[in-house]
Amino acid sequence: MTRILLLDSNQTHARDLALALKRHRCSVTICASRRDAIIELKRNSAGFDVVILDLSANRPEDWATFDQIQKLTWMSVPTPMIVCFSTIYRGPKMNLEVERRGARFVYER
């Protein structure tokens, strides 16, 4: 079973995505805030295979959270991989920016 940490401040969206992932045989821990996600990762970053991060708002604080999660997860073994998503299309530049930082990016349909 894939263990996922989902950081998504939109509660409805987080619930729906978690449900879809659970149907796909994933165990999902939802964190509504950056603080909760950081605490969870500091406690047990090796306990997750994938971290999913919402970058829809594209705010500087979202990128800061992304960077902080990268730093926290980098040294853990096994290292969780990061997938970012956006519900708003912002062109290929955002995709490239995320990939440059060593994570994956997808647009939701």
Binding site: L17, L21, D49, V50, V83
Partner: protein, 193 residues
């Protein structure tokens, strides 16, 4: 649009990452080793040069910053990746293999194209290869521990055996111009000193 359709890009990406994690854990990353100056119609024959080692990840290529001696050790470990070898075995294997003894002999250059690898140097070379792997993994955004790729395996005594956990593909070219290389800056530890 149904919920599963809406979230399918995220779910597909998670699937891909999980498959990638599993593959990296079981077989390790993929490398290309480029040999050049081959004799026409032959592959991996003595006289060829080990020119570059390239990390391939997600359809992109990243040049590893390895000087000649490390290229040779990496090539040797790649060829013998099924069997862990001690520093003594690596040195013996490289000294008796005509490929390394006649390395680069197919072309005349000013500098010496062979290297004498000593047992005591192997430990240091392993460290340097791991550093180069770390840089390559970082450039590729690949979260992988170099110690999990160039593995040190303990024995019943204090002897350590080294094994490269990776998939390797050898590419042969006849001259430098016929190979397309990644755009990563090519810098070796020797260049910096």
């Amino acid at each position: 649009m149904s919920m599963s359709d809406r979230f399918s890009p995220v779910i597909e990406e998670v699937d891909l990452l999980v498959a990638e994690i599993k593959e990296l854990a079981t077989v390790g990353p993929h490398f290309k080793i480029v040999h050049r100056f081959r004799e026409y119609g032959t592959d991996c024959r003595p006289g060829e040069e080990v020119a570059w080692t390239i990390l391939v990840f997600r359809s992109r290529e990243y040049l590893l910053r390895l000087p000649l001696s490390l290229l040779l050790v990496f090539d040797y470990l790649g060829r013998n990746r099924w069997l862990p070898q001690s520093a003594t075995q690596i040195v013996a294997g490289m000294r008796t293999d005509p490929f390394y003894a006649r390395h680069g002999a197919n072309v005349r250059t000013d500098g010496r194209q062979t290297r004498k690898i000593s047992r005591s140097a192997v430990k240091e070379y392993v460290k340097r290869i791991r550093r180069a792997l770390q840089v390559g993994f970082h450039e590729a955004g690949l979260k992988l521990d170099p110690y999990a790729v160039l593995v040190s395996e303990p024995t019943e005594s204090n002897e350590i055996r080294y094994r490269l956990k990776a998939t390797i593909e050898w590419i042969h070219v006849d001259c430098a111009r016929s190979v397309s290389l990644p755009t990563t800056a090519f810098e070796t530890p020797d260049d910096r000193s």
